[in-house]
């Protein structure tokens, strides 16, 4: 007898491993199956790798903008540079030691420096820095507590040797526990005025300016100031174009004569309608005609600097003539008003010219400035601070970040999330959703189908009626409804929301398979060998387990493989609609893109959809191969 005893491992091998291996070999023999299996192995491999390396705080990380603040926002992948698009690289410099330090005029300086090479004509998105663990001291001096905090300056030295002070800050805390404490400071451009001034001073074309404005120093300085203000205004919307750009500033004269001409015409009209006999006509007339000739001279002048003296002279003459006319009561009320309005219009023009850039067209164009940039963070402490008593340096580390115009393998989204990272961790979630739903659906369908077909009677009727109900109910609306309810009930519990969706998919998903399996069981039940087994005294359980289940199981496997993608697609679809569990699934990435209505951002829309499609495709292809296995009529002859 002992020789007939089969070892446990051999039984397992013969019963399960062997058929599975044969099955896989057969799937492999079909073209679709081969592609499907390769894809499937890749998917499983990536999923396992992602699961192993998944950080435990993935959910918090995904939702937290602070985690991604060193990345540029909404930028394409780095490889777009191979498609001919110029790219400014991303560069994060972590400095634990200052490049130089030293004492000067009662202050201790620590200088942290990072270099950045911009080779392609493209603007980096931003330059920022973080000073981590900057010490703030609290010292006792003359019975008072004095808080000493550092002054931090963030400087950018550009390839054109322009030094821009991006920000200067002195972080402070009101109550320092102990004699010192450390805090983190984030630095980014705040000194718009200073940067605008520096850029203006460098890039205003003085020759051109003098050509347009003339030599009047007041006017020149007004225009210069106006240009700088314009730079600052523009810089507030797109700072990177100015921090990393060279400017082409073009100033031209606007339409000043269209403001002077009406005054000329009014005065001319008043002068012409003045009768010789009017009281004081002789006193008023010369003033008016002098004013007219000055205005004409101003109109003929080429530059505002040339106009100004004539305008002043016209204003003087006009004011005097007006005063005379009032004294002599020369004019009618109407004419008087006209004259007085001419005086005020003229003085308005003069003051506009001398204080604003209203009469100039200022056009500022920028171009990326390539070359090497140096960013400096200078932390300075008053020498009063007990710096030497500190363990280590007064600053733990400094991070200087040049945000690129492209990032990583798949770009970033609207809060700077690295899409490659997020999509990578989406693999196991997608596979888990798909497999859980598919396996559970299949098992329920298989078991209930066999029971329904084998036992018949009331059990059969009950199962069939249940299938009638779940098969006729519109699944997606039910899913949305229950997903919505789950969001209300399980607030901040992503796992339960996701489980609700999966459970609904399972509960409403097994009907079709159960009916197919039932029909198959009905025909198998009539086979003579079943009758024989029952006659030999085999229990129902044994007949089901030994004779029926193995035959219908293949169909079950085919159906399972086909229902994996539908679960993945449904979850993604629900995410897109806004029923989100909170997991960083591929659907969730797509839904964020959709919420911000950015259909144009291809690196945000295409990759997640492709991943969903490829994953589904792997299962569909394997499913097609299995379908051919179990349904030989579909085979190619």
């Amino acid at each position: 007898m002992a020789s007939r005893q089969v070892s446990m491992s051999k039984t397992i091998s013969q019963r399960y491993i062997r058929p599975l291996w044969d099955g896989l070999k057969e799937i492999w023999s079909y073209g679709t199956g081969k592609v499907g299996l390769i894809l499937l192995i890749l998917l499983v491999g990536v999923s396992v790798a992602a699961t192993v390396t998944m950080p435990s705080n993935l959910l918090a990380m995904w939702e937290s903008p602070a985690y991604w603040d060193e990345n540029p926002m909404l930028v394409p992948p780095e490889w777009v540079s191979y498609l001919g698009q110029p790219v400014a690289p991303q560069s994060v410099n972590v400095l634990t030691k200052p490049v130089s330090s030293g004492e000067q005029a009662g202050f201790m300086y620590y200088n942290y420096t990072a270099k950045y090479e911009l080779t392609q004509p493209q603007y980096p998105q931003d330059v920022t820095a973080k000073v981590l663990g900057a010490a703030i001291f609290s010292i006792q001096a003359n019975n008072t507590v004095k808080v000493i905090s550092p002054t931090i300056t963030f400087i950018l030295i550009r390839p054109d040797n322009l030094t821009l002070t991006l920000t200067t800050t002195s972080p402070t805390i009101s109550n320092v526990s102990g004699w010192y404490t450390r805090m983190d400071v984030k630095l980014s451009l705040t000194n718009y005025g200073g940067v605008g001034q520096a850029l203006g001073a460098r890039y205003i074309n003085e020759t051109q300016l003098a050509e347009v404005v003339g030599s009047n120093t007041t006017l020149l300085s007004v225009v210069r100031l106006g240009i700088m203000n314009e730079i600052v205004t523009l810089m507030r919307s797109f700072p990177q174009y100015y921090i990393f750009g060279k400017l082409v500033i073009n100033v031209s004269l606007g339409n000043i004569s269209s403001d002077i001409t009406p005054i000329y015409q009014q005065v001319d009209l008043v002068l012409k309608s003045l009768p010789e006999t009017a009281p004081g006509a002789n006193a008023v007339k010369p003033g008016l005609s002098n004013a007219l000739s000055s205005l004409q001279a101003a109109l003929n002048a080429r530059t505002p600097s040339g106009m100004i003296p004539y305008l002043y002279s016209a204003l003087g003459n006009l004011t005097q003539a007006y005063a005379m006319s009032i004294a002599y009561n020369t004019f009618s009320a109407n004419q008087s008003t006209t004259l007085s309005s001419s005086v005020s219009s003229l003085s308005k023009i003069i003051s506009d010219l001398e204080t604003t850039t209203k009469y100039y067209n200022i056009d500022i164009q920028t171009q990326p400035l390539t070359g090497s940039y140096v960013a400096q963070v200078i932390v300075s402490y008053s020498t009063e601070a007990p710096l030497t008593r500190l363990p280590g340096l007064p600053v733990s580390s400094v991070r200087i970040i040049f945000k690129g115009s492209a990032y990583g393998l798949l770009g970033t989204d609207d809060i700077g999330r690295d899409l490659a990272v997020i999509l990578y961790y989406g693999f196991p979630v997608a596979m888990a959703i798909g497999l859980t739903a598919a396996i559970a659906t299949t098992l329920i369908g298989l078991v209930l189908g066999v029971i329904s077909g084998y036992y018949g009677g009331y059990v059969d009727e009950a199962i069939q009626r249940t299938v009638d109900v779940i098969g006729n109910i519109p699944l997606l609306p039910i899913l949305i409804l229950l997903g919505q309810i789950a969001e209300l009930v399980f607030v901040n519990n992503p796992f339960m929301i996701l489980m609700t969706i999966i459970v609904v998919l399972i509960v409403f998903g097994w009907g079709g398979l159960a009916i197919t399996i039932r029909t198959m069981t009905l025909s198998i039940k009539e086979e003579p060998y079943i009758e024989a087994a029952l006659a030999l005294g085999a229990s129902n359980n044994r007949v089901i387990m030994k004779h029926i289940l193995p035959q219908v199981a293949v169909y079950g496997v085919a159906s399972m493989v086909f229902s994996v993608p539908s679960a993945i697609l449904t979850e993604a679809g629900l995410s897109v609609l806004g029923i989100r569990s909170g997991y960083p699934t591929w659907g969730a990435v797509l839904s964020r893109a959709r919420d911000s209505n950015r259909y144009d951002v291809w690196w945000w829309i295409v990759p997640p959809g492709l991943l969903i499609s490829i994953t589904s495709l792997a299962f569909v292809l394997v499913g097609l191969a299995i379908e051919k296995m179990v349904e030989p009529r579909l085979r190619t002859l």
């Binding site: 009638d468 109900v469 006729n472 609306p477 229950l482 919505q484 609609l577 292809l621 190619t636």
Partner: protein, 367 residues
């Protein structure tokens, strides 16, 4: 054929039972889970707040006591309005509301909707009868989803059998690859991509499909121009859906044909040397008719529910958008109305198929 009659009556009764069960199940999900209760309470608070704001604006001298008084009054009004309490102020438990919902629905009384986002779909202000809203929205879904299914049917029904006959050819392989590919690609993602390319980038088709309503509502003012506009709006969604659905249509019908073409009796007929035409007419079409008719009719009936996700991508004002708006705003009446109509249509379609089978499938007649 008394047997057939009995079969039909039995199926009719069973489907009716299933239908009523679905209505009850829907009501349970809406009311039994406390979903409606929560939504209603939120609505009451929201409405009362709006009322108090208006009250303070119109009565500048109102004392806090007046306002509190008014607040209590309006809370009572709105709670009664949403059926949370009865006329005496006693709370109405969810299960009573649930049965009320079931019975009213079965009497085809779906009540009114008070959600502006829902009535806006038919360009009106609330309250509107639910049935009016559904009737207004349904044609637009027919224009998109049902039309797409019909186009698929027209293409697939003649094409798929031909492909099946040329089993294994290049064409056949291409169709199978296409079917596998578009089985895997989500329709709504395809919609996003096509909308992005043809709508946003190339600007051939519109990007905001909500505007379609204008042309439908004022259709008779200028039928010619409006038809052109409606066609322009419908083209991209219909193309998207046809690309996605045709794969399933071709593959399913091909598989149905293949199964029958390879039956032994067809082989025997071929072996006997019967003319191909006769084989096709007598042995194949006759047997193929029931499953294919089932497929076509259920696809058309199912399409009336609209495609919630795809419609939301296009912002297409159809049944899917209505369903989604109803669920997210917690408008129980509309949700119930939509479910009721959709399930009813689907169940009637199945019943119709049962009756049709008596004529198409002799096996049913003589069972």
């Amino acid at each position: 054929m008394p047997g057939a009659g009995r079969v039909i009556v039995r199926r009719a009764i069973l489907l009716t039972i299933a239908f009523i069960l679905i209505v009850i199940l829907t009501a349970v999900i809406l009311e039994g889970t406390g979903f409606a209760q929560k939504i209603y309470q939120a609505l009451v608070i929201q409405n009362v707040q709006a009322d108090i704001q208006a009250f303070i604006r119109t009565h500048p001298g109102a004392t806090p006591a007046d306002i509190q008084n008014y607040k209590n009054q309006m809370t009572f009004y709105w709670e009664e309005y949403y059926g949370l309490i009865d006329a005496n102020g006693n709370p109405v438990p969810p299960y009573i509301r649930m049965w009320k919902l079931v019975f009213n629905s079965l009497k085809f009384d779906f009540g009114y909707t008070n959600q502006e986002s829902i009535t806006a779909l038919v360009g009106k202000l609330p309250p509107q009868p639910v049935i009016t809203v559904i009737a207004g929205v349904l044609p637009r879904t027919i224009l998109m989803a049902t039309l797409a299914e019909a186009v698929c049917a027209v293409i697939a029904l003649p094409l798929a059998p031909r492909i099946a006959y040329k089993h294994g050819s290049v064409w056949d392989r291409m169709i199978v690859s296409y079917a596998a590919l578009f089985n895997a690609v989500p329709v709504w993602w395809l919609a996003m991509i096509l909308l992005s390319v043809f709508g946003y980038t190339m600007r051939i088709f519109p990007t905001n499909y909500r505007a379609l309503m204008t042309y439908i509502n004022s259709y008779w003012d200028n039928p010619l121009v409006n038809t052109a506009y409606i066609a322009w709006y419908a083209t991209l969604p219909v193309i998207t859906l046809v690309i996605a659905f045709l794969s399933t249509w071709l593959y399913s019908i091909r598989a149905m044909v293949l199964r029958i073409v390879r039956e032994d009796y067809v082989m025997v007929a071929k072996a006997k040397g019967l003319p191909e035409k006769d084989i096709a007419r007598k042995y194949i079409v006759r047997v193929m008719a029931p499953p294919i008719v089932t497929y076509v009719i259920l696809a058309l009936a199912g399409s009336l529910g609209g495609l919630i996700i795809t419609e939301s991508i296009f912002d297409w004002p159809g049944m899917g958008t209505l369903t989604y708006a109803a669920i997210t705003t917690g408008d129980v009446n509309t949700v119930m109305g939509v479910f009721f109509i959709l399930v009813l249509v689907y169940i009637l379609a199945r019943l119709f198929l049962e009756i049709l089978y008596v004529y198409l499938d002799p096996r049913v007649r003589y069972r």
